[in-house]
């Protein structure tokens, strides 16, 4: 397929990722708008988010840094450094998801069940919004694991950085999305 004669700006797959991110933004915009509408109703119970979410915030920001460094080392062809940083990013991603679960547990311990008939929408929203974000992180973690395994097992040498750059865009996005959601649910 003669790709060269087709006009190229951004790589089509990279562009597709950006449009997909816009789509995910709309999904969370829908949920946070619903949150605002719902909050105006009576029977809304206010509660504080447990401190463990601060640790998860720190974790995911750190993972963005390691992701960034990992792409840098890939481009510099320092492959062992790249692999180590990629592995570290994956571990931090897993740690984030675990911390989120601990956070959910703490909310329930505080007498605010997330789901079930005695739940209040204020807690259910946290469950759904953070849960859905967590699923997106988990999807990223799976992609990271695949990249990581490829870097170790694959015999073929990969020189194109497109794949890893798309991964990086997505990873920074879920990080940024988390910061937004955290600020939103903490102070709105």
């Amino acid at each position: 397929m003669s790709v060269s004669q087709e006009r190229k700006r951004l790589h089509p797959h990279k562009f597709t990722m950006w449009v997909a991110l816009a789509s995910i933004v709309m999904m969370f915009a829908g949920l946070t708008s619903a949150y605002i509408v719902k909050k105006a109703n009576s029977q809304w119970i206010e509660f504080e988010l447990p401190t463990v979410f601060w640790y998860s915030t720190l974790t995911i920001i750190l993972s963005s840094v390691t992701m960034h460094l990992s792409i840098k080392s890939f481009k510099a062809r320092e492959m062992s450094r790249y692999r180590a940083l990629l592995g570290l990013t994956t571990l931090l991603g897993i740690a984030f998801v675990v911390l989120q679960f601990i956070g959910f547990g703490k909310i329930e311990e505080g007498g605010m069940p997330l789901f079930g008939y005695d739940s209040n929408p204020s807690a259910s929203f946290v469950g759904i919004i953070f849960g859905l974000h967590g699923l997106h992180v988990l999807g990223g973690v799976i992609a990271l694991i695949i990249l990581f395994l490829r870097a170790y097992i694959g015999n073929r040498k990969v020189y194109s950085s497109t794949g890893i750059e798309i991964m990086g865009t997505y990873w920074h996005f879920v990080d940024l999305l988390w910061v937004y959601l955290f600020i939103f649910l903490n102070w709105m």
């Binding site: 003669s2 004669q5 087709e6 006009r7 797959h13 619903a34 209040n120 759904i128």
Partner: protein, 570 residues
């Protein structure tokens, strides 16, 4: 994985759904036209959907209406329409060998097929499919015990719709990326045919509005299965011994906001591809450039922006703040401006053209007629004061069937007849095409025009039997008439189906590479294009898509370089 094959898969799956959905409408028109009649043969055919007297039961009537709406809006006029023509036309008309990601494209179809199979299976479950209307408002959709169809039927409906949303998103991402990144040399944005512009805006609408629907569905799933109270409040259910619900503080109107934030853009997701194809087919068959090319793009853009700002006009009677309502009235009525620009430009395009009345062209003209008739009643309904009287009546049914339903189908027929030679290398039969057009066109008006009067007289929609009300007895004969015409129109669609499948094998062969004398790139490919579309290099584009009747030449293809003495369009 070839885009042309995926287009055909979308088209044929969409056609299967159109038959199922159309047949459902014939069945419930039986009930509406002949509520007293006893059709014992239906009992043998449909089993428990029909009671012992030979009438459709109330539950199955509601199921039929619900599934008819769902499949026609989403499976036929969204997947069947933009799925088919975006896949077929985007690579061919922008000059690309395939989509940006053929893999995503294939996944998009398989998700659609999975959604189709789940929805189909819901028709056959013991308690019947979902029956609370295609909009699936809570509490009927949120409480499994509300109606027979709210249990398993609703679960399957939600799964099918979630799969469908994934399919649309994957498709939409790909369409946008292909249009922006894969255009051939010389194909600047303002040289693209209007079909591509329309499909581009359609994809943007889909990508930005379907995720919000998904959010709404996620909350609904949790209300149904995990005891949350997003939509459900402590309402009291008298039937099935549910008693008062333990939920507190739910808000059913919240669902309506989330639903219509997609729901309104959805009608433009249906109509924009039809508009694009109609523009293209009209220019080709009038042998004239499209009138006001930039105005056409501008009005598509205006419609796309406004589409996101008018959702609450579906909710004027939900207790919406009247001040807020007045803003939505203003924004809604603003859509009349770009719509009128488009209609004006279509009429001026065919004005004094050398019109070739091919079946595709007839459907394009029919589309404009329907869009005018249906659009005008939109101005009525967009008024929050008038809407208090008209909402949930047959007036609404008439409005959206004409402007979106039938017009969308006309756009689809227009595209099928026009691009059939590109899809199968053969023509469809013209005589059958003309019969199909005239019966459908006249039939559509005969079915839906009288409904305006019924609606103005206050006849509400979604009722099983109107014969109990003195005030609606005047419509008994009229309803019979509508049902009769509906059956005839449905029968003619079978003729179209026959024509379609017969012509694949026995239709007249296409002999020339460019049978319509069109300027666009799809007609520079071989008659039966293989994978990769062009045999050699992808052609370079030198001019816009509408050089018809220029400098005494009948048409100049986009691939012809601009001559020395020639003035370029831009």
């Amino acid at each position: 994985m070839d885009h042309k094959m995926i287009a055909k898969q979308f088209l044929i799956t969409g056609m299967v759904w159109a038959i199922i959905g159309g047949l459902m409408s014939v069945l419930f028109r039986f009930q509406l036209g002949y509520p007293e009649a006893e059709f014992h043969w239906m009992k043998d055919l449909l089993g428990k959907w029909v009671n012992d007297k030979g009438q459709i039961t109330a539950e199955s009537y509601y199921s039929l209406v619900t599934i008819h709406g769902t499949v026609l809006v989403f499976f036929v006029l969204t997947a069947g329409l933009s799925g088919t023509f975006a896949n077929l036309l985007i690579p061919l008309q922008v000059g690309a060998r395939d989509m940006a990601s053929p893999m995503l494209n294939m996944l998009s179809y398989w998700f659609f097929l999975a959604a189709s199979l789940v929805m189909l299976s819901s028709i056959f479950v013991e308690t019947g499919p979902f029956s609370g209307g295609w909009t699936a408002y809570p509490p009927l959709s949120a409480l499994a015990s509300a109606q027979p169809g709210s249990g398993v039927g609703m679960d399957l409906w939600l799964i099918a719709m979630a799969l469908f949303v994934v399919s649309s998103l994957l498709g939409g991402l790909n369409y946008i990326a292909t249009i922006l990144n894969m255009r051939t040399k010389g194909m600047s944005m303002t040289r693209m045919p209007l079909t591509i512009w329309a499909l581009f805006f359609t994809a943007i609408l889909g990508v930005l509005s379907f995720p919000v629907l998904l959010s709404g569905f996620i909350l609904l799933i949790f209300d149904r299965n995990f005891g949350t109270s997003f939509y459900l409040s402590d309402i009291f259910i008298a039937t099935n011994n549910v008693g008062a619900l333990p939920n507190e503080g739910g808000n059913a109107v919240l669902y309506q906001h989330l639903f219509w934030f997609l729901g309104h853009p959805e009608v433009y997701i249906i109509i924009l591809p039809a508009m694009g194809m109609v523009s293209e087919v009209m220019a080709v068959n009038s042998r004239k450039p499209i009138f006001g090319y930039m105005a056409m793009i501008g009005s598509l853009f205006a419609i796309t922006v406004l589409a996101f700002l008018v959702w609450a006009h579906h909710m004027f009677v939900t207790g919406l703040n009247p001040f807020l309502g007045s803003i939505f009235v203003l924004l809604t009525l603003l859509i009349a401006v770009p719509s009128a620009i488009k209609v004006f430009n279509w009429l001026t395009t065919i004005w004094r053209g050398s019109i070739r009345f091919t079946p595709g062209m007839l459907f394009a003209i029919g589309f404009v007629s329907l869009f005018i008739s249906g659009g005008l009643t939109g101005i009525w309904l967009g008024n929050s004061a008038l809407d208090i009287h008209l909402h949930d009546t047959y007036f609404v049914i008439a409005h959206f069937h004409i402007v979106m339903g039938v017009a969308g189908m006309f756009g689809m027929f227009c595209g099928i007849y026009h691009w059939y030679p590109k899809m199968y290398g053969r023509y469809m039969n013209n005589t059958m095409g003309y019969i199909h057009f005239w019966v459908t066109m006249i039939g559509a008006y005969l079915i839906f025009w009288p409904m305006h009067y019924e609606g103005l007289a206050g006849m509400p929609r979604r009722y099983y039997d109107y014969s109990q009300w003195e005030s609606f007895k005047q419509f008994i004969e009229l309803n019979k008439f509508i049902s009769l015409v509906a059956m005839i129109v449905f029968a003619v669609q079978l003729l179209f189906l026959f024509n379609f499948f017969y012509s694949i094998f026995k239709g007249r062969r296409v002999r020339s590479q460019n049978p319509w004398g069109a300027t666009t790139l799809e007609w520079t490919t071989p008659i039966n294009p293989g994978h990769g579309n062009w045999v050699g290099e992808i052609p370079e584009v030198h001019r816009w898509a509408y050089d018809y009747g220029k400098d005494g030449q009948e048409f100049i293809p986009q691939t012809t370089p601009v001559g020395a003495n020639e003035t370029n369009h831009h």
